[in-house]
Subunit: 88 residues, 3 copies
């Protein structure tokens, strides 16, 4: 193999290694986790977003504030769980 050839190969490889998604990097996937609080609010940590909420007393009425907060709408207040997801 000629020297010029291997120099170009190395340049290309170096450039790709700097990419977030290069052939040697693991593919992105969705990762989700739950955050449970007593009371009517539960929060997803920075970098994650709410994809669904669960609530105590069998309550299925909730709303999401600002992409990161689960707000329980039933009475009486019990616990609130945020299902939080992000790309990893």
């Amino acid at each position: 193999q000629c020297s010029l050839d291997s120099i170009v190969d190395k340049k290309i490889q170096d450039a790709l290694t700097g990419l977030e998604l290069n052939p040697f990097a693991p593919a992105k996937r969705i990762s989700c986790f739950s955050v449970t609080n007593s009371g009517k609010l539960s929060f997803c940590p920075a970098g994650s977003v709410v994809t669904g909420c669960a609530c105590g007393y069998g309550c299925g009425s909730w709303d999401v504030g600002g992409e990161t907060t689960c707000h329980y709408q039933c009475n009486p207040v019990d616990w609130t769980t945020a299902c939080c997801c992000r790309l990893t």
Copy 2:
């Protein structure tokens, strides 16, 4: 630096700039938002998918139709919220 060297560097840089995910592009993230309708159906707009649903009257029984529709299953009918997500 020899001229050949800088030509190859430029070629590689040009190719990477054309990538959707290049070193200078922001990383993809999940973005979610809610769509609420009165009645028993709520729809996620094109390009987004349902990750969860919430319903009025505390109802937690719902199903998803065709990736984009939240269908409320309780009686009486109240409101339905679709939690819609997409990559941005």
Copy 3:
């Protein structure tokens, strides 16, 4: 066009084609689907994660086990649906 030029172009193109996300590959998107079981547990298949759960009898109380299992918390036990998502 000189031969060296086209050789370098081809080398770069070959390297990019090996990338999961190259200019010719479709962009990643979120894909979601539902899995419903009778009983109090429903499972997302390998490669997908739970983003929300729905339950029979209007029950909105559930928790997620190990990223892939929806666990229904109400009595009596009816059906459980897992909303499962992955990147495709």
